[in-house]
């Protein structure tokens, strides 16, 4: 575990930024706005369609793009843990009494539990939808430079939301590194063991309190360092965002057409 990555199943922002800055593939040269538009289209598609075949194709295409951009696929599978847990813990429970052809059934404390083919289909569909969006989000993050994200944040959000967001984005890296180092220090003096829940809880509380206090002080000092180098209070980004090229407009239109087509094919629309 490096100082910065706290957990294998949570995306490591440092690594993400590293790939984003390295810019190894043609996807990095696309305008961030194109990727943003595609993010919205993909969300729309996933929200509109429950067709397993369409979803599977979409997933494979995005995964292919991810791999083609030389991004770490094995890491990605580790990062799927959280979304998968989220989906399973919600739908995993509901999937049990879905109508359909029973596959497994047994009783717990008098309650009959039946898992049907529809139930399983439900879980698979929702999981696939989640993974599609997660994969594309990470692909977006890992092929777009930090400064372009900063510029987008600056354009999209009203003040003071943009200021908070930009500063938070910046402090995040410091805070993550600090949290990692503190946890390292705790472990290096025997703090990683499970004692009692109370002792363990207290220790984490202390560490978290420290993270809060430290990052506040850090932010004060970083703020100072920024002022010391001419930061004027309102932080704008000097960088422009690469504009959309003609081909990219076409690409977006094609994508939109696909979404519309899928929407028309889907029998039930709306709530």
């Amino acid at each position: 575990m490096s100082a910065a990555s706290l957990s294998d199943h949570i995306p490591d922002l440092n690594l993400i930024t590293y790939y984003a800055e390295k810019q190894q593939s043609c996807f990095s040269r696309l305008s961030p706005w194109t990727k943003f538009a595609f993010l919205i289209l993909i969300i729309l598609l996933v929200t509109l369609s429950g067709n397993l075949a369409i979803l599977a194709v979409l997933y494979l295409v995005i995964l292919g793009a991810y791999a083609a951009a030389h991004l770490p696929v094995w890491k990605l599978f580790g990062w799927y843990t959280m979304p998968a847990v989220f989906v399973l813990s919600l739908v995993g429970i509901m999937a049990w009494s879905e109508p359909g052809n029973p596959i497994i059934s047994f009783a717990v404390a008098g309650f009959p539990l039946v898992l049907t083919d529809k139930g399983i289909l439900l879980v698979v569909t929702l999981l696939l939808k989640a993974l599609i969006v997660v994969t594309f989000s990470l692909f977006f993050l890992m092929t777009t430079r930090y400064m372009h994200f900063s510029a987008m944040i600056y354009r999209i959000f009203p003040s003071p939301l943009d200021q908070i967001f930009l500063m938070a984005y910046r402090f995040l890296f410091l805070t993550l590194a600090m949290t990692g180092s503190i946890l390292k220090a705790v472990r290096s003096r025997g703090g990683g063991l499970i004692h009692s829940v109370r002792v363990q809880g207290r220790m984490f509380a202390e560490v978290f309190a420290l993270v809060f206090i430290r990052s506040f002080e850090r932010s004060e000092r970083v703020h100072k360092a920024m002022i010391a180098r001419g930061f004027s209070g309102s932080y704008g980004t000097a960088t422009g965002i690469p504009a959309l090229r003609h081909a990219e407009y076409l690409l977006i239109c094609a994508g939109a057409a696909v979404v519309v087509a899928v929407a028309l094919m889907t029998p039930s629309l709306g709530g």
Binding site: P160, I164, F165, T175, A205
Partner: protein, 216 residues
């Protein structure tokens, strides 16, 4: 996991839009409050930014209890920064979370409403209890528990109202499932309440200026 983040594709387009619109109204109100009613200074902005970063970083730490617990600390944010800034902070946290797959983009609206409930209730409880409880630890703990409880209610309500795409069971069946989840959540909430109490105590001790007028 103290929260169930809903992933993309769970809700229909209609409900995605509904929760987004409500969330945007809440954010607009918070922005107006921060900008004009309560003239927020630069320092507060820095505070909000650090809170965002710290909360997001802490969320990434897996606590080795019950096979790994992650804390969101939204009630703590409510206590530290109040409802208006708190709402802005949870918006950013939800966006950052969506970016790394913890909750869907389309559901930022719904998830935001759950978190704002936590922020509001925790902040309110913390201040209402001020006269009753002199000790910050118990007060913060209770505020957190109550905040998380209401957050859970909000989550159940949102899911019940919108329904999950593809789920065909009756509302009461869904409610049974959700109650189970909420029960587990409340177990984790007790840990979060304890830890929040400790954090508040430590902050008051080390940086009394962050929570003015409080004693440990």
């Amino acid at each position: 996991m103290a929260h169930i983040h809903l992933e993309d594709g769970s809700f229909t387009l209609f409900w995605v839009a509904v929760w987004w619109v409500i969330a945007l109204v809440v954010i607009a109100a918070a922005l107006i409050w921060v900008r004009s009613v309560k003239k927020t200074d630069n320092r507060k902005i820095t505070l909000a930014a650090f809170c965002t970063a710290a909360a997001f970083a802490i969320f990434q730490v897996s606590i080795p209890l019950f096979g790994g617990v992650h804390l969101n600390l939204t009630p703590l944010i409510g206590i530290l920064t109040g409802p208006a800034l708190g709402s802005l902070i949870v918006l950013i946290i939800n966006i950052l979370s969506a970016a790394i797959g913890h909750g869907g983009w389309g559901l930022v609206g719904g998830n935001l409403l759950v978190n704002v409930t936590e922020v509001l209730v925790a902040y309110g409880t913390w201040n209402v209890l001020k006269r009753l409880f002199p000790g910050a630890f118990a007060r913060a703990g209770i505020a957190t528990l109550l905040g998380l409880f209401c957050g859970n209610l909000a989550m159940i309500a949102i899911i019940l109202v919108s329904g999950v795409q593809g789920v065909t069971q009756s509302s009461s069946q869904i409610l049974a499932g959700l109650t189970l989840i909420a029960g587990v959540n409340m177990g984790v909430a007790v840990i979060e309440a304890f830890i929040t109490g400790m954090i508040i105590t430590a902050i008051i001790k080390a940086r009394p200026d962050l929570l003015e007028g409080e004693r440990p």
